[in-house]
Amino acid sequence: MNANATKTLIAVVAGLAVIGDAFLLFVKPHLGNGTAGSRSVASGAIGGSSPSPSSGTASSEAADSGSALRDGTYTSVATPNEYGEVQLQVTVSGGAITDIAAIAYPNHTNRSQAVSAQAIPQLIDRAISAQSARIQYVSGATETSTAFANSLQDAINQSLNAGK
């Protein structure tokens, strides 16, 4: 029993972690009917092995995962990045997604500016200079697995690994 409780706790915490981790959640069908209002579908990262049993909120929801989608319009949580915010609006009709619209906001809002400001602090250290032998990476357009052996990147990697 104790073990069971622990298990449940772990499951709940894991569920919350997944939600917190998930970059985006779809929420609130605009034409919500009853419990659908809080329906959010989240899976973990793409590692999720099977079509995810709804990892989220209430256990009652797990039961209907896998069944047809409820009709309505779902809006994703905004995902701010350095160039603004984007939201997707997905229309479900007859159990299938029938329309996808993207709403984009430029990053005039304080929120996304705060996000981009804190994301990467050290902008000033960047520079373009003359070609040099002392590099760790090569950025080019042609590197493939077949051409990797004896490539410049391969040589750099080997010399780095040879350093003590």
Binding site: F23, L123, Q136, S139, G140, A141, E143, D154
Partner: protein, 257 residues
């Protein structure tokens, strides 16, 4: 007191491309422990990239992208990563006035965005924690020309990325120094990328941005749109200080700083 830092490189093959993981040891990290960290990180990154390829491959009918191409978009609700990539693709189309496009031959194909996004994400998932733990001073992940770098606040390490010469595999044309950020290169021969070009004056574009996903998007747009239009596009986002090295069709090199 200052000695050369201990750096380890590991190569993993995924998405038809060799990815190089590089770690710089923090002063207190011994060589043996450091090798274990590098091996483990490479292993995890390989597994994650393989799963990303399975999810996003446009060539597999059962991939999330493959299903979307036949009208089944359910993954938008089930898979946050799939939805995120789709949103980024929409955003990229807007930012580049359509010169970056996730539609190829009439169907959804986010391939041009997926690798850069996957490298940035894998870097965040598996390398940033090593920096935060204090055992690793700096860490980078790169593959197919797309590189994401980071350096811990306590380290003065600077990553140096050579811009490959599209006309000579063994040569670099410029060196980009950065601590945290993304570097991406697009050319006329980049694998798996379907670029619809409206201009043909650029043979290659290398772009530096805070985030590799956007560096990748800008590099693709540059090659598609040509130098003039590209300069206009990034001028709208001066606050991000996008940097670029452009190799023109006539083999001259232009720098945007």
């Amino acid at each position: 007191m200052q000695s050369a830092p201990l750096i380890r490189a590991r190569v993993v093959h995924a998405m038809t491309v060799p990815f190089t993981v590089q770690l710089v040891a923090a002063p207190g990290t011994g060589a043996e422990r450091f090798d274990v960290l590098a091996d483990r990180a490479a292993e995890r990154i390989k597994a994650w990239l393989d799963r990303a390829e399975t999810a996003f491959s446009p060539f597999r009918e059962d991939s999330l992208v493959g299903r979307a191409r036949i009208g089944d978009w359910k993954a938008l609700l089930d898979h946050p990563d799939f939805a995120e990539v789709h949103m980024l693709a929409k955003q990229a189309e807007r930012l580049t006035d359509g010169h970056f496009s996730a539609t190829h031959a009439g169907v959804y194909d986010p391939t041009g965005l997926v690798k850069g996004w996957a490298v940035e994400r894998a870097h965040g998932l598996f390398l940033m924690p090593l920096i935060r733990s204090g055992e690793v001073a700096a860490a980078a992940l790169g593959g197919g020309g797309d590189i994401q770098t980071a350096v811990g606040n306590d380290s003065d390490f600077v990553w140096r990325v050579g811009v490959g010469d599209p006309h000579d595999d063994g040569r670099t044309l410029r060196t980009i120094s950065l601590r945290n950020g993304g570097v991406a290169t697009s050319g006329t021969s980049k694998r798996g990328e379907h670029i619809t070009r409206t201009a043909h004056d650029l043979a290659q574009a290398t772009v530096v941005d805070d985030h590799l996903t956007f560096a990748d998007m800008w590099a693709t747009a540059a090659v598609a749109a040509g130098e003039r239009t590209f300069r206009t596009l990034i001028d709208r986002h001066r606050e991000h200080r996008v940097m670029a090295v452009l190799v023109r069709a006539d083999r001259t090199v232009a720098e945007i700083e």
